[in-house]
């Protein structure tokens, strides 16, 4: 079947994929072997991936919010597809953020999970975006579905901002902060105090951002192809 068309865009995506894979391998190796071992032990190395994945996921949710605004302004379905793709990728990355945080917390806080403000807001954020995927399927009419999803996608971004900044405004959180002073009750704090740690952190954040963009692009193409096939199906079946 396949008459796959090679375009400049697909060549860029292929290049981006190669870069993302290489960066991912290097970033993981840096986290495991290049960064010095913190007094917390080897588990502290999860932090580089944990923060990287959160930044990648937050970027994906930001892209979804911007795409949602653009859909409401332009009423072009490509922005609806972009928002859907970005939210799906954001859920994967922030899902890993939550899971990796729980794994770090077990030896450091002596618990997998606690209803701390930061952890709770992260869970609410994840659930809000998971609900996006379920709720948008409740609409038959594509226009209404896209309109509802766009409004929801914009409102849901407030949960990302809340999760990001809650450690700055709630002194009772035990979640440590790496950039700037930690909250007074923070437990398991550590400092990114060497150039190797800083470089590893920055490289991991960049890696997960590139990975997020690459995955969103692929998911967008899949969604577009799916809708094209659905439209074709309607044409063929209506003959």
């Amino acid at each position: 079947m396949a008459h796959r068309v090679s375009t400049p865009r697909s060549a860029i995506l292929t290049g981006l994929t190669v870069i993302a894979i290489l960066m991912f391998v290097v970033a993981t190796l840096m986290a495991l072997f290049y960064a010095p071992t913190d007094p917390q032990g080897m588990v502290q190395r999860i932090f580089y991936m944990h923060l990287g994945a959160f930044m990648g996921g937050s970027l994906a949710f930001l892209i979804a919010a911007i795409a949602s605004i653009l859909y409401l302004v332009k009423r072009n379905f490509k922005w609806d597809m972009m928002a859907l793709a970005a939210i799906e990728v954001g859920l994967v990355l922030t899902g890993f953020t939550i899971v990796s945080g729980a794994i770090w917390a077990r030896p450091i806080w002596n618990t997998w999970w606690t209803w701390d403000p930061r952890l709770t807001s992260a869970a609410v954020m994840w659930l809000a975006y998971a609900a996006y995927l379920m709720l948008r399927n409740g609409f038959e009419d594509p226009d209404r579905r896209a309109r509802f999803a766009a409004v929801y996608g914009i409102l849901a971004f407030s949960s990302v901002l809340f999760t990001t900044f809650i450690t700055r405004v709630r002194p009772d959180t035990i979640h440590p902060v790496v950039v700037g002073p930690s909250p007074q009750n923070a437990q398991g704090s550590f400092e990114v105090n060497s150039s190797a740690m800083r470089l590893t952190l920055i490289f991991n954040i960049l890696t997960y951002i590139v990975a997020a963009i690459t995955l969103i692009w692929y998911r967008y193409r899949l969604e577009r192809f799916t809708r094209q096939v659905q439209a074709l199906k309607m044409q063929v079946l209506s003959r």
Partner: protein
């Protein structure tokens, strides 16, 4: 006592668990992506076949040609 305070705890197993979860979550998503892609390509191929068997309708091009 001093040695107890400065000793680095052995929690390598948690790091390995974290890496396993990274592989599971990202790998699982990639598998789900490729399964969906395979299914939609099969559907596109079937529709192409149905199109080829039926009289040609104007303005309908093979679906798989549009995946750019």
């Amino acid at each position: 006592m001093l040695l107890q305070q400065t000793a680095i705890p052995d929690n390598l197993s948690y790091l390995l668990l974290g890496l396993a979860m990274l592989a599971l979550i990202l790998g699982g998503y990639l598998v789900s992506y490729f399964v969906r892609l395979r299914n939609i390509r099969r559907e596109a191929a079937l529709l192409e076949q149905m199109q080829a068997e039926a009289p040609e309708a104007p303005g309908v091009s093979p679906a798989s040609a549009r995946l750019t």
